[in-house]
């Protein structure tokens, strides 16, 4: 166990991507009751658009902004054109779930058709490694984790201190009461989908920098992000962030000390055990019926 610190550090690094994706999933779910299974592919599409921008000469930082903006707008369009027309109600929520799964498959195919199936390498923002608390990490990982944490702090500030953020929390709690005080549900949904998909794009961008841009970029991360969401609670934003980091750390500990082959099995066995004891997750609230 002498190398526990590096393992935890690696877990925090990978967990930051899961946490961002998980936060995006929860923000969208709370505002529109929709589990957006296309969030990973939307983010990947944003990354490929930014890769094209980089190939045209855009600096990496600009490319990151392009990925965030594109994914955000794509999310808004998805909500406006595919999810909102389904209308409210439990039946449409199930249909929305199927629609987002279908959209994800469509995006995945489109990426292959447009950019091909060969992975595209992205040069790191800053090459080389750095020692953090005695742990050697690439600058890319350090920057990715720092940006993820800054993004999460921004989200916390946004929801706590801005009028739109407070309105989004209000709308998540009671759609009808929110309308009664004059909050426009369509605008809130647009903000949520833009923010959720934008956060996912940050995660995807740094995953691509760490590995490569490819159509399967977010599949594994999204799998773990969903685990983080259920671990932290589907309705809780802090829970999603904590859940994402917890999955990252658990994943690395399982891989290092138990079995690399069974890391997924071990991680999900722990999650099942936790959910057995606390079905709403660590920080999630029980589902309230809206009237």
């Amino acid at each position: 166990m002498h190398d526990l610190l590096p393992v935890i550090a690696a877990g925090i690094v990978s967990g930051s991507a899961y946490a961002l994706l998980a936060l995006g999933i929860v923000i969208i779910f709370r505002s529109t009751d929709t589990v957006n299974f296309a969030i990973g592919d939307t983010a990947t599409l944003g990354v490929f658009v930014s890769v094209t921008a980089m190939q045209a000469g855009a600096p990496v930082a600009v490319a990151l902004l392009i990925a965030i903006t594109f994914a955000g707008f794509f999310g808004v369009a998805t909500e406006r054109l595919l999810v909102r027309p389904l209308g409210p109600g439990h039946k449409s929520l199930f249909i929305a779930l199927v629609v987002t799964i279908g959209l994800g498959l469509l995006i995945h195919a489109a990426i292959g058709a447009i950019w091909g199936h060969r992975p595209i390498t992205i040069a790191p923002m800053v090459p080389g490694t750095v020692s953090v608390f005695g742990v050697a990490l690439t600058w890319n990982k350090v920057i990715a984790t720092a940006i993820a944490i800054v993004a999460m702090v921004f989200v916390a500030w946004f929801f706590r201190f801005t009028t739109v953020g407070v309105a989004m929390r209000a709308s998540a709690e009671d759609h009808f009461a929110a309308r009664v005080v004059g909050i426009n549900p369509g605008r809130i949904a647009a903000f949520a989908w833009a923010l959720g998909c934008g956060l996912a794009a940050i995660a995807a961008f740094f995953l691509a920098m760490e590995t490569s841009a490819n159509a399967n970029l977010t599949i594994s991360a999204l799998f773990r992000a969903f685990a983080g969401v259920f671990l932290g609670g589907l309705t809780s934003m802090p829970g999603a962030a904590v859940g994402g980091f917890a999955i990252g750390i658990l994943d690395n500990i399982a891989g290092r000390y138990l079995s690399a082959n069974y890391r997924d099995t071990i991680v999900f066995a722990v999650i099942v055990a936790v959910l057995f004891i606390k079905p709403a997750g660590f920080l999630g609230a029980g589902r309230k019926e809206r009237v």
Binding site: T163, A170, D174, F176, V180, G182, I183
Partner: protein
């Protein structure tokens, strides 16, 4: 009291999954008036309250605000920006949000300076526990405090009319009196007040017009001290006799 209607709903009909909730309802709310719509459980009061406030678009009929047809605006964000605030049944506060956040949302869309200026005035009307608990989650307040907070949230919109559904629901008589005192104060300030109540006692002490609703239809409208009003209420609540 000005007799020109501020809000007028005409020929309102509404159904839920084929079940009739309202049928041919006409109702005028005078500017600065105090109207109590009374009726038993299931009479259609909450549906009518939401339609009067523009929070629900009726399947039939029209809603007019100061003579203008606003039916097409109903069912989205209500008419709060046009000066009609709704306090729904059960208050529908944002329980996880603080007292301060709930009040500030009452004036959503207004500039922050304007909202903060209104906040000070609204806090003066609030009970001590609300005034001293600005950072408390609204869900932790008592029923009476929550009702006052709901009234305060509506007042943040600086309304011309306040529509309040079942203000006395679940409250002790002394707290109901306090809520009605505040509503009386609003009327004195020229704000039209419309209460939808199952419990007639308090509403009849304060309103200047009583409307009785039963099975989705207006069965009577008249003055509080009108014998026909008492008879209509008796018929509405007890059926016949």
């Amino acid at each position: 009291m000005n007799s020109a209607p501020l809000i007028s709903v005409k020929g309102i009909g509404h159904r839920y999954d084929g079940v009739l909730a309202l049928d041919g309802v006409d109702l005028d709310i005078p500017a600065g008036g105090f109207v109590a719509v009374l009726g038993p459980n299931g009479a259609g009061k909450s549906t009518l309250a939401q339609i009067v406030a523009g929070a629900l678009r009726p399947l039939k009929g029209r809603i007019e605000l100061a003579g203008a047809d606003v039916t097409s605006r109903a069912g989205r964000q209500g008419l709060v920006d046009a000066g009609v605030a709704l306090i729904p049944e059960g208050r529908r506060l944002f329980g996880q949000l603080t007292v301060d956040e709930n009040l500030m949302l009452g004036a959503y869309g207004k500039p922050r300076a304007e909202r903060e200026a209104r906040l000070a005035g609204v806090y003066e009307l609030m009970p001590e526990a609300v005034r001293n608990g600005k950072d408390r989650a609204a869900a932790t307040l008592s029923g009476g405090e929550q009702q006052m907070l709901a009234v305060g949230r509506a007042l943040m919109a600086k309304p011309r009319a306040v529509v309040i559904d079942e203000p006395s629901l679940g409250l002790a008589p002394i707290l109901i009196d306090r809520v009605y005192e505040v509503l009386d104060g609003l009327r004195r300030d020229g704000v039209a007040v419309v209460v939808f109540e199952q419990l007639a006692t308090h509403a009849m002490k304060h309103a200047d017009q009583i409307v009785v609703i039963d099975h989705g239809r207006i069965s009577h409208r008249g003055a509080v001290d009108d014998e026909a009003t008492v008879e209509a209420l008796r018929m509405g609540y007890l059926g016949h006799g």
